[in-house]
C-alpha cells in the first residue's frame, strides 16, 4: 500500500474540513464505545481476562519460534502447505505464483489487513487476475478505489448515501427504479452481486485472526460469513497471515475470543469463528482441494527483540481507535498507511521505519484511553513515547525544537537556577498578562498558540505557593 504517512498534518487538516467524513465520524464511534462498555459490564471477569490474555500472549511470544515450528508441523500433517515470507515482496511473489499455478482468473478475498500491508491486490491484478473483496465494507472500498480507514470496520468513514451512489454507478445492471433506501436494500444488492463471484472463484484468500499450534489450524472471526464462503467455495484456499498470530492451544483461543468481540463491537461473540485445518479430506463433498498458509515476518521478528515487543500482543480489535480522540477527529485515512489509530501510531513506524512514520507517535494527546481499553493491555502511550525518543535520537526533529528541549533539560537538571528562572518567568508573564488573563501569542511558541490561547500565570510559581502553604500562610 502506498505510504502517505509523512503527510499526516496536511491530511488531518483536510480531514477536519471534509464535511462528508465528519458526518460519518460523528455518527459512529460513540456507539462502539457504549457497546463495549455494556459488554464489559455484563461479564464480571472481563478485567481479569485482560490480564490473562496479556500473560498468555507474552508467554507465547517468549516461545514464538517453537510454537511456529509446532504449528507448521501439525498443519503440514493435516495436508496444509506452509510458506514463509520475510518481506511483503516475498509474500506477494509466493501468492501470485500459487494463483498462477492454479490458472486462476478470479480470486475472491475475505478481509485481511496483512493483504493490505503487502499490497496483494495490485500484485494479483498486475498478474492479470480479477480480484474481488467480499467483506461488504472492503467491497465498497474496492468500488471506490479506496483503502480501509479502520481495521474492523473498513468503510466506517462512509455514509449510506455515498454507498448508494457507488452501487448505482458500478452495478450497471441495476434498474434505476430499484429502491436502495434502507441499509438492508444495499446489503441485499451487494449479496446478489457477490454470490455469483463466490461460486465462480478459482482461489479464495483469507487472513487469519489466529493460528493454533496444537492443531495446525487457522482461525477467522467474522460476522458476515463472507470469509467462509470465500474459503469453502474456491478450489484453493490461501491464508495470508503474520508470524505473531500463533497461539498454543484451543483453550487460549477461547480466552482471546472472549475478549476480541467484546472489545471490538461489544458483541458477546462474533457470529462466526471458524477453525480450518487442512484441505478437503477423503469423502468430503465440499471445501478447497488445496490449502496454503503464508506466514509473513515483515519486521516482526526483529521487533520482538526491541522495547516495542508488547505491540505484538495486539489482536486487532480496533478498540484503541474507537476510543481515540485523534482518530475520532481525523479518521483513519489521515494516518496514511494500513494501521490507523493508536495501534498504527506504534506499529506503523516499526513496519515502515520511523523516518516515514514519525508523525504518528506525535499525533497523540496522551490521554491514555487506548491503553485503558486495550484487551491485551498494550501500553500504547508509553510505546509512542519510545518512538518520540527514537525519533529525537535519530535527529529527526527540527533544530529549534531540539535546541529548546536541550535548554530546558539543562535548566531542569539545575533546580536552583530552574526555580529562579521560573519565578522570573511567572512574575514577568503574570504582570504582562494581567489585563487579559491570557496570551494570544508569545515569541517562540507560534506553533502552539496558533490554535489556542496560553493562560497567563498568576504571578507566583507552584513551588512558591507550596512553600507558603507549608509555612501556613493563608491563601
Amino acid at each position: 500500500m502506498h505510504i502517505e504517512t509523512p503527510h499526516f498534518n496536511d491530511n488531518a487538516r483536510d480531514a477536519l474540513k471534509d464535511a462528508q467524513l465528519q458526518k460519518a465520524l460523528a455518527g459512529l464511534p460513540g456507539g462502539l464505545v457504549a457497546q463495549r462498555a455494556a459488554a464489559r459490564d455484563k461479564l464480571p471477569e472481563f478485567e481479569a481476562l485482560r490480564d490473562v490474555g496479556r500473560d498468555l500472549r507474552n508467554e507465547t511470544l517468549e516461545l514464538l519460534d517453537v510454537y511456529l515450528e509446532t504449528y507448521e508441523r501439525n498443519a503440514t500433517a493435516a495436508g496444509a502447505k506452509v510458506h514463509w515470507a520475510q518481506t511483503a515482496e516475498e509474500a506477494r511473489r509466493i501468492i501470485v505464483e500459487l494463483c498462477k499455478a492454479e490458472g486462476a482468473r478470479l480470486v475472491t478475498k475475505g478481509k485481511s489487513m496483512i493483504s493490505e500491508e503487502i499490497g496483494l491486490n495490485d500484485a494479483l491484478q498486475d498478474a492479470g487476475m480479477e480480484v474481488l473483496e467480499t467483506d461488504l465494507g472492503e467491497y465498497i472500498l474496492q468500488i471506490r478505489g479506496e483503502t480501509p480507514s479502520h481495521i474492523i470496520a473498513p468503510a466506517i468513514h462512509l455514509t449510506q448515501d455515498q454507498v448508494e451512489a457507488d452501487f448505482r454507478r458500478s452495478h450497471t445492471d441495476l434498474p434505476a427504479d430499484r429502491a436502495l433506501v434502507e441499509p438492508g436494500d444495499l446489503v441485499g444488492e451487494a449479496r446478489r452481486v457477490l454470490r455469483q463471484k463466490f461460486l465462480s472463484a478459482d482461489v479464495g484468500i483469507t487472513g487469519a485472526n489466529f493460528l493454533i499450534a496444537e492443531t495446525g489450524s487457522s482461525v477467522i472471526v467474522t460476522n458476515e460469513g463472507n470469509g467462509d464462503l470465500t474459503q469453502s467455495l474456491a478450489r484453493v484456499h490461501i491464508v495470508i497471515t503474520s508470524i505473531d498470530k500463533v497461539l498454543a492451544t484451543r483453550e487460549d483461543l477461547a480466552t482471546l475470543l472472549r475478549l476480541l468481540a467484546r472489545s471490538a463491537t461489544g458483541q458477546e461473540c462474533t457470529t462466526y469463528a471458524t477453525l480450518s485445518t487442512g484441505p478437503r479430506r477423503a469423502g468430503d463433498v465440499d471445501g478447497p482441494g488445496a490449502y496454503h498458509v503464508v506466514l509473513l515476518d515483515n519486521g516482526r521478528a526483529e521487533l520482538l527483540g526491541t522495547q516495542f515487543r508488547e505491540v505484538l500482543r495486539c489482536i486487532r480489535c480496533g478498540a484503541c481507535m474507537n476510543h481515540c480522540p485523534v482518530y475520532g477527529a481525523v479518521g483513519g485515512h489521515t494516518y496514511g498507511w494500513v494501521y490507523p489509530g493508536p495501534i498504527g501510531a506504534v506499529l506503523t513506524p516499526a513496519l515502515i521505519g520511523i523516518g516515514q512514520g514519525a508523525k504518528l507517535p506525535n499525533a497523540s494527546t496522551f490521554c491514555g484511553r487506548c491503553e485503558s481499553v486495550c484487551p491485551m493491555r498494550i501500553p500504547l502511550p508509553k510505546l509512542m513515547r519510545h518512538w518520540r525518543e527514537a525519533e529525537f535520537e535519530a535527529g529527526q526533529p527540527p533544530f529549534h525544537q531540539r535546541a529548546a528541549l536541550a535548554a530546558w533539560a539543562w535548566l531542569a537538571k539545575r533546580p536552583r537556577t530552574y526555580h529562579v528562572a521560573m519565578r522570573f518567568a511567572a512574575a514577568t508573564l503574570g504582570a504582562l498578562g494581567r489585563r487579559r488573563g491570557r496570551f494570544r501569542w508569545l515569541p517562540l511558541t507560534g506553533g502552539w498558540t496558533r490554535h489556542r490561547d496560553l493562560a497567563a500565570p498568576q504571578g507566583r510559581t507552584f513551588q512558591q505557593l507550596w512553600a507558603e502553604h507549608q509555612r501556613g500562610v493563608p491563601r
Binding site: 455518527g27 464480571p44 471477569e45 481476562l49 508467554e59 516461545l63 519460534d65 517453537v66 511456529l68 515450528e69 509446532t70 510458506h83 514463509w84 461488504l136 470496520a153 468503510a155 449510506q160 454507498v163 441499509p183 444495499l186 446489503v187 449479496r191 457477490l194 496444537e214 492443531t215 489450524s217 460476522n223 458476515e224 460469513g225 463472507n226 467462509d228 464462503l229 469453502s232 467455495l233 508470524i243 498454543a248 492451544t249 483453550e251 480466552t255 475470543l257 472472549r258 458477546e268 461473540c269 462474533t270 457470529t271 462466526y272 469463528a273 471458524t274 480450518s276 485445518t277 479430506r281 469423502g283 468430503d284 471445501g287 515476518d297 526483529e302 521487533l303 520482538l304 527483540g305 515487543r309
Partner: protein, 225 residues
Amino acid sequence: MSDTARSAILSRIRASLKVAADDPDRATLAAQRIAGHPQNLVPARASAAGTDLVALFRSYLEGQQATVSAVASHSDVPAAIGNLLNATGATGVVRRGSDPLLGDMPWAEAKDLVVREGAAEPDDVAGVSYALAGVAETGTLVVGAGKDNPVTLAFLPGIHIIIVARDTIVGTYEEALARVRKIYGASGMPRTLNYISGPSRTADIGGKIVIGAHGPRTLGVIIVG
C-alpha cells in the same frame, strides 16, 4: 527459497529472544502447554453450579436473532423444520449432510419437504447441520464440518438449521472442546470447526446492523431431547 526464508525468520526470532536453536527446555515448555492444554480463567456465567444451561443458551441465541425451538426426539425434527420453513414462507430443496444422526430421521413423514443429501447448491432454500455441542455462555453452536456435515450448508443457503441434542449443551467453550477431543482425538480436528452464534450480519453500511449479509438470513436452532 521458502526454506531460506523459514530459517532466516526463525533465527531472527531466536536472536531477538536471545535463545539458542533446539533448546530442549523451551521445546518441553511448549509441548507441556499443548499436552496439558490448561484452562485459563473461565467466566462463572455458565460454569456456576445450578445454572440452567439450556435457558441461558436459548436466551443468548435469541438475543443474537436466531430462531430457537425444542422438540422431544429425533423423529420430531423433520416436522419442526417444515414449520420453520413455513414461517419464513420459503420453499425449495432442503439440503442435509450424511451425518447418521440426520439419516435416522423420518424425512418422508414431512410431506412438504424436499430433502436432498450433499453439499449446498446455489438454489437450495435451507441447509441442515447437526452440532456436536452448544455453548451456553454465548449462545454458540459448535459444528464439526466435514463429510457428515458439509461446511457449505452453513453459509450458502438463505436458511441454516442446526440440530443440537439437549445433553450436548454445555456451559463453556472449554467443555465443548472436551467433546471435540473426545470425538476427533487429543489434537485432532474436523476440517473446519465452526462456532456459529446467529444468522450472518454486517454493520458496514452506516454502522447499522443488518441481518443476512453473505451467509444465512435465518438461523434456526432445534434442540432435541
